[in-house]
Symmetry: C2
Subunit: 340 residues, 2 copies
């Protein structure tokens, strides 16, 4: 294999505030010969996800910081192109945490490091999105924390994104009213017309708390019973002003504060006044939920009832810019990088 | 009975900021003759509780606002002094929501309006405190929301108060480490030496977040797994800086914001980083817990293992000042007004 060159992107410095291209470095490496038990995977797609921003920092967080001078971590799907492992054959389609690179040599005997995936009814890259970590994230927060009853109202921020789009559709499937918050008329139209949410608020039209809160009042005439938070900051403040008694907030992300901006919660007394529950979670700590979640998500995709959208950047070199765009909401649906 | 005069305190105006004596009015009324089914209760003690401050406001809250021109509501214990109800005899000791007044005529056929209490092993006034609403409040927040495991660390603010003192002792009984936060050296000494907490922090010695957070670090070397919040504001911010992964916060009160001061939560992203659960509750909405809670609390008081302290003001006229003192932490343990 020594004639194969693997391009990979490493993290070489930590951002002060917004990340930029200087934090990354493109490196070309020769792919080594396989040892016994190893397989070589060629990545077709790599995933870009907001949590990666957190891992670029060095501070206390839920995730171990990404090491400097090593390939950026992340989910990948691809194809086995060489194998010295009896459980994997050339041509197998696989899911793994292959990172920001074109190829990966994997010791495939490590349990769970590489999973074969069936692409007959589900497209390969969907295993990085709605039938993967983002989908299970949506499922866990919605089902285990919000647990909506039929007729309740569920709000989700970043509603057109990989996680948010699944949250609303799973809520609708449970008989709840789904209201999205997204950036821009196009995204809102998609959320309502294609994903079937009951309403969607374009936060760009509501630059202050009062205006956003009023928009939520109109979109949620019976108040808010559940909220799935991907953004934080003013969006969470506005939701809390419309929260019903016994409402539940699943805290999945606070992208508004990822660059270190202060994002105080203005009125925590509403937690008491409304007897709210606010709960943070990380999907990788709830592995017991994955089979049930993936069964529902996969069935929905196979049947065409669970919809999703992708933004695909082309080539490993495009990954940093695509990632910066994701952090600013420039993507539309799941952000992927196509590597072949 | 028309020769009996009942002194009662009514709410006559709503406070703008701190409440003051002008918000209340002392009224003298004749006690009417009893109708069939009614009993006349002479109150021995009335309860003063922080939640009453919330009811003085008109805004949205969990409690219905206290009506103007009517007797202030609140818990009372006393003795039946006349009865036209076959279920109550003169001399029965009873618990009810009799309000800020010396006497009350009650239609005792209304279910739950008046409860007979046994004073052979438990002092009458304890039914307003540790064997009453404050005790069950402590029990529900600790057991149902924090649910500490042996070896975990539980922090409680207003630790020498009616609720806080029970929280720490119930936590200790479950094998947890209990750390109080209270105002002043005397209260802290009591919390540790008499109630048996492992440590207590005098928040008056720590005027800023950094200092309070450092004190919590020293008192909680293994971090904080559960927190019972009665105060809010800087105390909650400081606790969150020391919160462990999967920690639970029971939001019972936010007395720091009762006069309308803004009390933003400075770092809500810690809910996500630490996968915390923050949950508000009101004990009256969890009636199913009362029998189990009262059984444990009553047994502890009867056995002398569950300790508590009272501050007793004398006479109905003293109620407003005692209430203002309670809101400023001038009381030590359960604040009562003795009416006989």
């Amino acid at each position: 294999m020594s004639n194969i060159i693997n391009k990979q992107i490493q993290l070489v410095s930590r951002p002060a505030g917004e990340p930029n291209a200087d934090n990354f470095k493109l490196v070309e490496l020769s792919v080594p010969e396989l040892d016994d038990g190893q397989v070589l995977v060629r990545h077709h797609y790599m995933s870009l996800d907001p949590y990666m921003r957190g891992r670029m920092n060095d501070g206390k967080s839920y995730a171990v910081p990404q090491a400097l001078g090593e390939v950026m971590g992340g989910g990948t799907v691809g194809e086995v192109v060489a194998s010295r492992n009896p459980n994997f054959a050339v041509g197998d389609t696989v899911l793994g945490m292959g990172g920001w690179q074109q190829y990966r040599v994997v010791d495939a005997n490590q349990r769970g490091v590489l999973q074969k995936v069936d692409t007959r009814k589900i497209p390969l890259q969907a295993y990085l999105g709605v039938v993967g970590m983002p989908g299970v994230t949506a499922w866990h927060g919605l089902v285990r924390i919000i647990n909506p009853k039929a007729g309740e109202t569920v709000v989700v921020s970043a509603a057109s994104g990989a996680v948010g789009s699944a949250v609303g559709q799973l809520a609708k499937a449970r008989g709840a009213r789904a209201v999205g918050i997204a950036g821009g008329a196009d995204k809102c139209r998609y959320v309502v017309e294609e994903l079937g949410f009951d309403a969607c608020i374009d936060y760009k039209q509501h630059p202050d708390l009062k205006s956003l809160s009023q928009a939520l009042k109109e979109a949620c005439p019976d108040g808010i019973d559940g909220h799935f938070e991907n953004v934080g900051g003013m969006i969470l403040d506005a939701v809390m002003l419309r929260a019903n008694a016994f409402s539940r907030v699943a805290m999945c992300g606070m992208i508004s504060g990822y660059n270190g901006e202060p994002i105080p919660l203005v009125a925590p007394q509403l937690i008491l006044v409304n007897r709210m529950k606010i709960q943070g979670f990380i999907v990788s700590e709830h592995m017991a939920d994955w089979p049930e979640a993936l069964a529902e998500l996969g069935a929905g995709v196979a049947a065409g009832t669970l919809k999703y959208r992708e933004t695909v950047a082309q080539g490993i070199e495009a990954a940093p810019e695509a990632f910066f765009g994701l952090l600013k909401g420039k993507n539309f649906g799941k952000q992927l990088v196509k590597l072949i």
